[in-house]
Assembly symmetry: C2
Homo-oligomer: 202 residues x 2
DNA sequence: GACGTATTATTCCGTGCGGAATAGTTGTGA
DNA sequence: TCACAACTATTCCGCACGGAATAATACGTC
């Protein structure tokens, strides 16, 4: 009864829409840009499908073949699969889990670099986030223009909100670094100077 | 020349402070609550150290032994290691990478549940985030009281900022769901009703 | 002083991810 | 028209992760 992976959720969600075979899922995910939200590679996808079939969350409904192409196995979601899908979505919605993003690690160790360099690097990051926000806003505009219900793109709004928050924090922090308001430990790493050990947060 | 993992960065950062053996790193990380920022398990840590030694980023400086306890190998960071550490931190600071958090997947598929249930689940999530924010603020207060420089806890401020943004978004969305302002597709999954296929974002 | 638990320090191994390989088939351009 | 690229559909395999195992010793307590 282990909790499903994000890719697993997507697989079951697709099969909840209609029966299909693995490669069809793969294509659909790319077509819908779900590969921006879920990490998807052929290997993991086929493996997930295989395990779901073994666990009875999905079931073979046909084995087709066109010409001399490889056989393709069409799957359907089972009632058990539907229930697991619902349960997993519920759990993922309700429980906040630490996913150990790497940026906090980097800022946590940023004192290994001089303040000016950190400010510059954060500037690069800020630029790339702004660019990403540009794409997202353009997509949202196109979607709204087509009059599609917001409920289907809540995740885009969510992601956008967090990116905006990060951009704001970066602007603020870069400013504080450049103005010298944010005191920076002596540029470490360059000399053999002793460094003060960092303190525990808790 | 593959890019270092977050755990790898932490390992090198510790050795940049002073020479030590693997278990000492492990203890220090827990003591400093770095296990909240970096995923650390004995297995991964020892493996990382092993590989760094093979790659010349760190070097054995002593093999000690107390009584009949297992030998412990003390390592020091090399110049190459120091350089890799700087380079990796710089890269992690400057480049925004998609890390595929699972919550967007869940909201993306939330239409499988009825609006009321989603609102309730988001409420649970909101509560747990608020609790987490409580801990963080308490920690920050304690740290500030000790007069420690902000530069060392930038990552806590960053995390706090994102959590606040998420909390705000959740409040807003829960409100929209409860007021009915956010139109929700017919509660899916309960009936065999045909569902409209979702649109591509891009 | 004996027994259980926590600490020290490291190794081992199952599991699963994901990049690459495979192999046939349709499309394209010179 | 013939080669070469892109697509269809799936399998394979290496490698890293991390939970559990190990094993000796210190410590607390009844």
């Amino acid at each position: 009864m282990t909790t499903l992976s994000p890719l697993g959720v997507t697989v079951l969600a697709l099969l909840a829409e209609r029966d299909m075979h693995a490669y069809e899922m793969y294509q659909l995910m790319l077509e819908r840009s779900e590969d921006k939200v879920v990490k998807v590679s052929p290997g993991s996808l086929y493996r997930a499908v295989e395990r779901f079939a073994a666990d009875g969350l999905i079931a073979e409904v046909a084995v087709e073949r066109q010409g001399n192409r490889p056989e393709r196995t069409v799957y359907a979601i089972t009632d058990e699969g539907r229930e697991r899908l619902r349960a997993t979505i519920a759990e993922m919605l309700g429980r906040h889990v630490n996913e150990y993003p790497e940026f906090p690690v980097a800022i946590g160790e940023a004192h290994h670099l001089p303040a000016a360099e950190v400010a510059e690097l954060l500037g690069v990051r800020l630029a790339s986030i702004r660019e990403l926000l540009g794409f997202i806003d353009a997509s949202l505009a196109r979607i709204e223009a087509r009059g599609l219900p917001t409920a289907y793109i809540l995740n885009v709004h969510y992601t956008r909100t967090l990116l905006v928050a990060e951009a704001t924090w970066l602007e603020q922090t870069i400013g504080d670094l450049e103005s010298g308001e944010l005191a920076w430990p002596e540029a470490a790493g360059s000399s053999g100077a002793k460094r003060v050990s960092r303190s525990s947060v808790h």
